[in-house]
């Protein structure tokens, strides 16, 4: 228990390896070196990890300073268990290629869906017109 019981603080997490998920969907892994009251993060030896299916690729990025509001979540990585993963690491080029293929496939399926809906005279639900939550 830390000395700020009842609250959450990142102080405990300093100098530990973390996985940070950003709002734009990127996954960063690095050592959390510094924080501030807005939960802005300084990540060291950062690696951007791209996951496609069962494969992943790491892109070394160096030092990151992340603005706190862009963090979705972050969690500590247990170094002992870090390598204990069913996922397969591949090279950067390969994973980028995989990502591109995945994006392409998604776009195509989306196009087909829109087409099908149009044929049936249905409107495509767009996020900005939804007023339901």
């Amino acid at each position: 228990m830390n000395y700020m019981p009842g609250t959450a603080s990142l102080i405990q997490d300093i100098d530990k390896k973390h996985l940070v998920l950003l709002r734009d969907g990127r996954t960063l892994i690095g050592f959390l070196r510094s924080i501030d009251q807005f939960a802005n993060l300084v990540l060291h030896q950062t690696v951007e990890r791209i996951h496609v299916g069962k494969k992943y690729g790491d892109i070394p990025r160096g030092i990151f300073v992340v603005r706190g509001e862009n963090v979705v979540l972050l969690g500590e990585i247990d170094l002992e268990k870090e390598s204990d993963t069913p996922l397969q690491q591949v090279s950067i080029e390969e994973i980028l290629e995989e990502q591109r293929l995945e994006l392409q496939a998604k776009q195509e399926s989306e196009k087909l869906k829109v087409q099908a809906l149009k044929e049936r005279g249905l409107a495509v639900p767009r996020a900005d017109t939804l007023d339901e939550y």
């Binding site: 501030d36 170094l79 007023d131």
Partner: protein, 735 residues
């Protein structure tokens, strides 16, 4: 680098301390590349007096260094005044300045030893021979460096260019090359050389616990694989309650040596100047107030021999440093307007501080990592303290708005303790004293500056409106102006919810004076009015505002939370409306399934109802619907909320009947009641068991109710259907 302490980024943003009056940002002191001391004024970010130092300082530069040290002292003083922080820093500085001169003779001595060692093959304990090519030349380099050190100046000097240096990285004030300033690959290759400079005897000369508690001080190197060294290092730290300062070099980092003042012998035995320096810094440190080193781990060492070490996560130093009631060893002098946390929090902190002395090694051995994280400790303790301080300020508030979880946590803790006291009274619990939080309110500032005689305003940027360009005021949208029904309903819900929160806040206050009670009920009544509950026919159901509100999950929550605060008349009206429109609501709720939210408060309402009112409500359920032949009853049986509500109503009726209180029925109440019971029984027996939904709660007196009116067989049948627990003694039932 000079003798000035390697104080780096001490960035104090204004924002974080906005609630503090008169706090300015301290001067930034950034030491970037080795040999350059830059300072920025934080407000305008102009460089102040840049000082470029030669890589190799000569004797003549000593006064310059001392000047710098003085300036640093001033800065520290400024920092201290600003933040009321650590006197230790000034102690450090005071300690540091006489150090350089004092140390050089020490250096001369101690440098001899490692110097002598290097030429020899490493002692057998060191295992692998220092096979790396980098060793020999480095050894020579050390020799040449030594002379310069004797001149009394300490700085880092290297033959390799230091432009690789990462300016943001910490720098140790030392004579040895700062490894962080190099590329990590270079770092790794050099770590060995630095390590080799430690004679074995030097290591052993130090108290083992010094090194033993220094997990991060071991660089990754083949030397590490030497068992003896590892053994020495793996001695667990004897005293966990130590303070750490991560200001120093990677090799020395994570030095968990006790910061006690009774370590004068280290000055002599420490082979390295920077380690001495580090020690002195540590001794200057105030014991109870610091963080323990947090996980000096290396995540992905570039070397193939990646040893995985679990993160070292010792619990933080159990010393509270924001407790105003701290003991005298407490070095923090917090500004007066920064006091008062929740009393329970303070208590915990004081307790911790007292216990701090008794706590020994906390970090279990398995978590301790013998591998050095050369970059650990970038964030100094002072900076951590500062962040925590800001966070604690944010916790101080009188309302629940600021930090709900913090407040709730402590309320619950208090409640639990109060209960324990009542029950056992075993622990000497301090009665929670109502310490009124004393927060300095931010004085109202003029966010709009109008210069007399001018047109318009000056754009003033403040912490609340950093980019305020125009005097734009957000006007709340008028409801009618909003678009669809649904949007309107959502707007209303939000508005009413805010009002509800205020009502609940009023409720939460400990002692409610009668006029406050009155005010509270008034407020609640206002919300009730705003809900616009009215009778409407089935055709208008989609348009009815209250029902629209109820169709939204949050609207149900709003109603559920509002019910306890309403007068019984109003609450019953709501119940009536809900039951009247039950089929509609159930249909709308099919996707969301949030009706059960309403059950609990409605149950409360039912529990207080009179018999006549109950009959009224039951009539709503049993009336035939115009469109279909189905009774709402039948539909209710298929809906979890519906069936639970039904059972609740019946249970209440049964309770009233069997309680022998005068019921004051009106007219046909009893007949209606019996009719209803029969109807329910019939429906229950008719509906297939598969479509009968399990209720949220099954009242126990339902069977006895049926027993009152129905024959035994039917009761058995119903019992099986409803899956009630069988009655205790059926023979006694008047069936």
């Amino acid at each position: 680098m000079g003798a000035a302490p390697a104080r780096l980024f001490q960035l104090r943003g204004r924002r974080g301390v906005s609630s503090q009056e008169g706090l300015g940002a301290p001067l930034l002191r950034v030491s970037s590349s080795p040999g350059c001391l830059l300072r920025w004024c934080p407000c305008c970010f102009c460089l102040l007096a840049p000082q470029i130092l030669e890589d190799y300082l000569l004797v003549e530069d000593v006064p310059l260094l001392e000047e710098m040290a003085e300036e640093d002292e001033e800065l520290d003083l400024y920092n201290e005044m600003t933040f009321g922080l650590d006197r230790d820093s000034t102690e450090e500085d005071a300690v540091k300045t006489p150090v350089p001169l004092e140390r050089s003779p020490d250096l001369a001595e101690t440098e001899e030893e490692p110097q002598a060692d290097e030429g020899q093959p490493p002692p057998e304990e060191q295992g692998e021979p220092q096979g790396e090519g980098g060793m020999e030349p480095d050894a020579e380099q050390v020799g040449s460096e030594e002379e310069e050190e004797q001149l009394g100046a300490e700085e880092e000097h290297e033959d390799e260019p230091n432009d690789l240096g990462d300016p943001a990285v910490m720098r140790a004030v030392q004579s040895k090359p700062t490894l962080e300033s190099q590329d990590s690959a270079v770092l790794d290759s050099r770590i060995g050389s630095v390590w080799a400079e430690f004679g074995k005897e030097d290591m052993l000369a130090m108290e083992p616990m010094v090194w033993g508690s220094c997990p991060s001080s071991i660089p990754p190197h083949p030397v590490l694989e030497d068992k003896a060294i590892l053994q020495v290092l793996e001695t667990p730290p004897p005293a966990a309650n130590v303070a750490l300062d991560f200001l120093s070099s990677p090799v020395q980092r994570g030095y968990a040596g006790s910061p006690r003042l009774n370590r004068p012998d280290f000055r002599g035995t420490s082979p390295k100047s920077f380690s001495q320096r580090f020690l002195r810094q540590s001794t200057g440190y105030a014991p109870p107030t610091r963080f323990r080193p947090l996980s000096p781990t290396v995540g992905t060492p570039p070397r193939p021999l990646a040893m995985h070490f679990g993160p070292m996560s010792p619990s933080l130093d159990p010393s509270p440093f924001f407790s105003p009631s701290a003991s005298s060893q407490f070095n923090f002098s917090m500004p007066s307007h920064l006091t008062q946390l929740h009393p329970q929090h303070q208590r915990i902190l004081t307790q911790r501080q007292q216990q701090g002395g008794t706590v020994q090694s906390v970090s279990p051995k398995k978590l301790w990592s013998p591998k050095a994280d050369p970059y650990a400790g970038l964030m100094t303790c002072k900076e951590k303290d500062w962040v925590v301080k800001v966070e604690m300020i944010q916790l101080q508030s009188e309302t629940m708005d600021d930090d709900y979880y913090y407040q709730t946590y402590y309320h619950r803790l208090e409640r639990k303790q109060a209960e324990e006291e009542l029950m056992g009274g075993r622990n000497k619990q301090e009665p929670p004293k109502l310490v009124t939080p004393f927060i300095q309110k931010v004085e109202t500032y003029n966010s709009v500056v109008r210069i007399a005689g001018s047109l318009g305003q000056v754009a003033v940027s403040t912490c609340y409106s950093p980019r305020r360009a125009i005097d734009a005021v957000h006007h709340a949208l008028v409801e009618e102006a909003a678009g669809s029904h649904r949007l309107r309903a959502l707007h209303r819900i939000e508005r009413l919810f805010l009002q509800l929160l205020e009502v609940e806040e009023m409720q939460r206050k400990v002692s409610l004076a009668p006029e406050e009670q009155e005010q509270k009920t008034q407020e609640a009544g206002r919300i009730y009015q705003a809900l616009k509950i009215r009778a409407c026919s089935s055709e208008e159901e989609a348009e009815d505002e209250f029902l629209q509100v109820l169709c939204v999950r949050k609207g149900k929550k709003l109603t559920a939370r509002l019910l306890p605060h309403l007068a019984s008349e109003q609450a019953e009206k709501i119940l009536l409306t809900i039951t009247h429109h039950l089929p509609f609501l159930m249909k709308k709720d099919a996707l969301d399934e949030s009706l059960p939210l309403l059950y609990s408060p409605l149950n409360e309402v039912v529990g207080r109802m009179t018999f006549s009112r109950l009959i009224q409500v039951l009539q709503e359920i049993t009336r035939p619907l115009p469109e279909s032949d189905e009774f709402p009853l039948a539909m209710a049986l298929k809906n979890q909320f519906g069936i639970t509500l039904l059972y609740s109503l019946l249970s209440r009726g049964e309770g009233l009947l069997s309680s022998e209180t005068p019921l004051e029925p009106h007219g046909r109440d009893f007949e209606t009641w019996t009719d209803t019971v029969f109807l329910v029984a019939r429906e229950l027996s008719q509906v297939p068991k598969a479509s009968l939904v399990e209720p949220l709660f099954l009242p126990s007196n339902l069977l006895s109710l049926f027993c009152r009116y129905l024959d035994k067989q039917t009761v058995h049948h119903l019992e099986a259907k409803m899956e009630c627990s069988p009655l205790p003694s059926e023979a006694a039932m008047p069936c």
